[in-house]
Symmetry: C2
Subunit: 166 residues, 2 copies
DNA sequence: GCACCGGATGATACTTATAGGCAAGTAGGA
DNA sequence: TCCTACTTGCCTATAAGTATCATCCGGTGC
């Protein structure tokens, strides 16, 4: 994330607080800075550990509460993957995800073709659709590499840079 | 689910166990029967409660283990929604979900237009996509009804059948 | 029908994630 | 600078999921 982008996100953060009448505490600022800098999709626990580098006395509970506040302010979105804790995504515009079925890594996808899908024909009295999100499931490079290495333990898995057969 | 469908699913269950060399225990059979009968997407805890009606002595641990086994056998799929526990879906063919952002209810969508989406252009060395899943977010009828009722507490929220303004 | 074996089960305790209450502290405005 | 309302940090509690290990049971060979 470029410094200019970061400044812009920070301005949005301040504006959202002003508009809602919420005070801008150093904890909120620290949590926000910790989350916008990350390219990944951290869990509350990961955010907590990152924030503790700046604010060692912050409590886990506070991080949870602040992340909840950010979600209601629309500053971050919640996402999740079966078998792992709730993750927080600093991107709020429409985008989609690649999810590794083994390690749970989430990778962002920006593909405009996916932003204009047909909405299913649902009776609006039954369900009011607001937006959608596509999860592509599969296996990331690291997990596939690990699998290749463990599949041939006797054939020299570290040999000559490894066979790039994909 | 019709009795014929259920018989077919049960046959698939038995075949999957035979093919994998796994024993068919009464616990596994009970968990499977509890999950195929449900039209919703129960959590492990809900499956546990349902199974206890037939097998009061079954442990929560066993239900978790059996559901994990079923996922690896491909008999059920895991799904999840931020803020709620992992849910299990007895449907294994490609389908999509409506997810209520308030109560977490998950409703199945069968819309063939969503089954042939363009896959994003990802370097196959970076990520091997296997399948995908579309989540539509919004609010279900019950939550919207509740909101309407709480939005006008002084205007007679129970009056004359309620204004059907949707 | 019976015995055996490997894997499954059940009880318990443990870990992790999240929530509520309350006193003390702090941001922001007068 | 002071005041007030909101936030924070701590403690405890709850829920979901996991690890371990002795015991039990399904499946198979005899």
């Amino acid at each position: 994330m470029s410094p200019a982008d970061k400044q812009q996100r920070l301005a949005g953060f301040l504006a959202a607080h002003r508009d809602s009448g919420l005070p801008v505490t150093i904890q909120r600022r620290a949590v926000f800075e910790a989350i916008v800098e990350r390219p990944d999709h951290p869990t509350a626990e990961q955010v907590y550990r990152a924030v503790r580098q700046d604010l060692p006395q912050i409590s886990r509970m506070t991080v949870h509460r602040i992340l909840g506040t950010f979600v209601s302010l629309g500053l971050v979105t919640k996402t999740c993957h079966p078998g792992s804790a709730t993750r927080f995504d600093p991107k709020t515009h429409q985008h989609h995800h690649l999810v590794c079925l083994e390690c749970g890594t989430i990778i962002d996808i920006e593909d405009s073709r996916l932003n204009s899908l047909p909405w299913p024909e649902v009776d609006p009295r039954e369900f009011a659709i607001q937006d959608y999100h596509v999860h592509f499931h599969g296996r990331c490079a690291r997990c596939r590499q690990k699998e290749r290495e463990s599949a041939r333990p006797a054939a020299g898995p570290r040999g000559a840079g490894g066979p790039q057969d994909t």
